[in-house]
Symmetry: C2
């Protein structure tokens, strides 16, 4: 119920908490205060408390938070206690890189299929999964309970493929194509626009250069 | 001067404007009103005007903005009228995908070198650039005016490599390693944490599922 009101900004910060808490847990740290976590993550302690209060505060008592408990709870909020089957559309370098990334499996994201329209790539092995032709897409996602599709194809084909995915029951699209997808309500889209990120870097680089010259 | 006060949130939106304006320009559209741009991009017209006012408003007169002028000006603000030499550290699938991405070159980002510690990858060709051993990193970036490094290596090695890069004159790091880098002031870092993005998708997916069940 309460989860409905939480802003995307807070949600966007949860994976970073999860990452730091996972590292602390692996290092054998059992408890941590918001002040210590603040110094480690370089965000204010009040920001941390505010973020956590969205989820009931995670019962900070006496000396700080229980690391393992906090890690597990944030993992549950992020839905990482469930498993999701995903397919990759586009078996180029980026698609293969994502297929080979073992960390996703540790988080419950199971790599089930990879598709490409290029016949030269069909049959290629990506971590035990054979590249299939695009013609098999619809049947495959319906028969294998696929809920996430990763789009690593050029923007010209992305809109049409997204429509096919949605029509066949995909619930979420992780979109690397350089285009904004319009999907029906209830379909989740998370964009990774690499060029946009590089341009932001470029802006900060050129702005800093100008500041240096003007000093 | 005025650029100094502009928030990272506004900067983060500029590449998307640039992308839409580039598409309009390619379609031969000469002028566009903030209302039309608003409908196209699905942001409010007042947001667009506010964002543009940070840069003097781009002289909207009579019927809307001059598309080509606006595209060029935003490109200049983003520093895309300059060229930057970049190297990639890590010649795995992700590193090779980025090396092969021609769009970066169109934006003035020139792919000059790629490095890997794995001897099996050294010598491999990535779009005409041979993979070099890590031992050559320092000399190469000093002698080739490299200002951007792209980090696509596992997090265990990333912190040490970032230090080496900074000591040898790199001004910006595009970081795909799953770790937050601490760099001296004046060094720009832009993070692409793919796992974080996937977790955000997972959250929205599992939240939506719960809402559906409770309805």
């Amino acid at each position: 119920m309460e989860a409905k009101e939480i802003s995307q900004a807070v949600i966007g910060r949860l994976p970073r908490y999860f990452r730091y808490l996972g590292e602390l847990k692996d290092q054998g740290v059992e408890r941590i205060s918001s002040q210590e976590l603040s110094e480690l993550m370089q965000v204010t302690a009040s920001q941390i408390r505010q973020d956590f209060n969205n989820f009931g505060g995670f019962g900070q008592q006496g000396y700080g938070y229980n690391v393992k408990y906090l890690y597990d709870e944030i993992g549950k909020i992020l839905g990482l206690d469930q498993t999701h089957n995903f397919v990759i559309i586009g078996a180029g370098n980026l698609g293969r890189a994502l297929g080979n990334y073992l960390n996703f499996e540790r988080r419950g994201f199971l790599f089930r299929g990879i598709f490409d329209q290029n016949p030269a790539l069909v049959g290629m092995d990506v971590r035990g999964v054979k590249v299939r032709p695009m013609e098999e897409l619809e049947t495959f996602i319906r028969e294998n309970q696929i809920d996430i599709a990763v789009l690593t194809i050029p923007k010209t084909g992305a809109v049409g493929v997204a429509d096919r995915l949605v029509q066949n029951g995909i619930k979420a699209i992780w979109n690397f194509a350089h285009v904004d997808l319009r999907v029906p309500e209830g379909i989740q889209v998370e964009n990774v626009h690499l060029s946009d990120s590089l341009m932001k870097l470029s802006y900060n680089l050129s702005r800093y250069g100008k500041e240096q010259k003007s000093n």
